[in-house]
Symmetry: C2
Subunit: 243 residues, 2 copies
């Protein structure tokens, strides 16, 4: 695996806790098994019992769950630097699937190996648990969104969150960030119909908060977006972030 591949994980961790040199070295020295998966493919199957966990090196992935009628809900979006299913190390059977929304590069590492390094380096083990907990905090914010925010605020919130998370791993470009998904997928994140998702996006455009073309979101009015979203990044746990 190319050396810089692990950089986004290092960035994700070190913005949230101190990451000593030796622990960083341990992570870099791990025997990651990398793979490239095509867009729309399943990285991890629902109801399976993986014996390894998967780090996202590049691309956009999602946890997805479905109802019998085919309705799909995406419960978390994953960006580079995210451990996509550390959860499977602690839960024996997957309660959801993980799908690649774009082409993704991923790196696998065995649960046994992760358990070994957690025992040898307890602080590193705690960092892994912190990622699980951060994940859960992101999910809680999404529960608040789905339960109590209306469509527009919900979408604004998503854009704010993605901007901040992508910023951490150096994947934003000024006030723009990549979002190479279609509105049908976005609807599955928002818990809305495609039609209403489209109308909601159009309204954010019309009020000049954002634009969205060619798979890129440009934020034109960050303060306005934050206001509409009632966005407070505490839940992202970015304590050591510079701002």
């Amino acid at each position: 695996m190319p050396k810089q591949d692990i950089d986004s994980l290092i960035a994700t961790l070190s913005v949230r806790d101190r990451l000593p040199r030796d622990e960083e070295a341990v992570l870099r020295a791990l025997d990651w098994r990398t793979r490239t998966v095509p867009a729309q493919s399943e990285i991890i199957t629902d109801r399976s019992s993986p014996d390894e966990s998967c780090l996202l090196l590049d691309g956009l992935a999602a946890r997805a769950m479905s109802l019998r009628n085919g309705d799909r809900q995406i419960t978390t979006l994953h960006v580079l630097g995210d451990f996509v299913d550390l959860h499977s190390m602690f839960l024996s059977v997957m309660d959801h699937s993980v799908v690649a929304l774009t082409q993704c590069r991923v790196a696998f590492i065995g649960h046994n190996r992760l358990r070994e390094i957690s025992t040898e380096h307890p602080h590193l083990g705690r960092l892994l648990s912190m990622m699980v907990a951060t994940d859960a905090a992101i999910q809680r914010n999404w529960i608040l969104s789905l339960g109590r925010r209306r469509a527009e605020s919900r979408l604004a919130n998503l854009f704010c969150e993605l901007y901040r998370r992508l910023e951490v791993v150096g994947a934003v470009d000024g006030a723009s960030f990549p979002l190479p998904i279609n509105q049908s997928t976005l609807a599955d994140v928002l818990g809305l119909s495609i039609v209403h998702t489209n109308r909601t996006v159009q309204h954010l455009r019309a009020t000049n908060l954002i634009s969205w073309q060619g798979g890129t979101i440009a934020i034109h009015d960050w303060d306005g977006l934050v206001e509409l979203a009632e966005f407070d990044p505490v839940y992202l746990n970015l304590d050591l972030a510079e701002r």
Copy 2:
């Protein structure tokens, strides 16, 4: 602390993983600081930075988040045996508050002590992480509910989940379990208005799936409730449960 107080934690853990005698002994020997808190009081304040975690020994508690307009969303219900904010061990600032929905007995234990025993007993540390991960799985199911299930199915799902979780800690009585909250609180769980919550409850009664009086839910038709809810308990991670 009376000896049996910790039993519900032991039950919660041992239904999900093997819990060796010595680890159980470690948990029982911990220097828990117990407290009784009145209904409606805050156990942990939003935006605070606790240095201890809180185990629920008795009663019903909830993670709560609010919007500026006062709308409240409950993101997780906690029952006896649940670690209410293990998350705070890994996240420095609380992204939500924890409130007692009924009078609660709780037991606090310092984060430092938890870190010590996690280092000395790595498997026990992993059990703690498993509780965080189980919590996250419960939240994911709730995201699916809020995003894609309509009110009736959402409520049915909640009742199925609570029944199974309370069963683990021996808090059900036949086909009944305690739910000593009012419909306003239930509305905050479901992400609905009080009025619609009331109508949804009445519909479950009218179709003879459940009854609800005096703070007790009686399930009259488990299979019907499961069917309506599309309830699949995989996400509760009850691997070692007998059924």
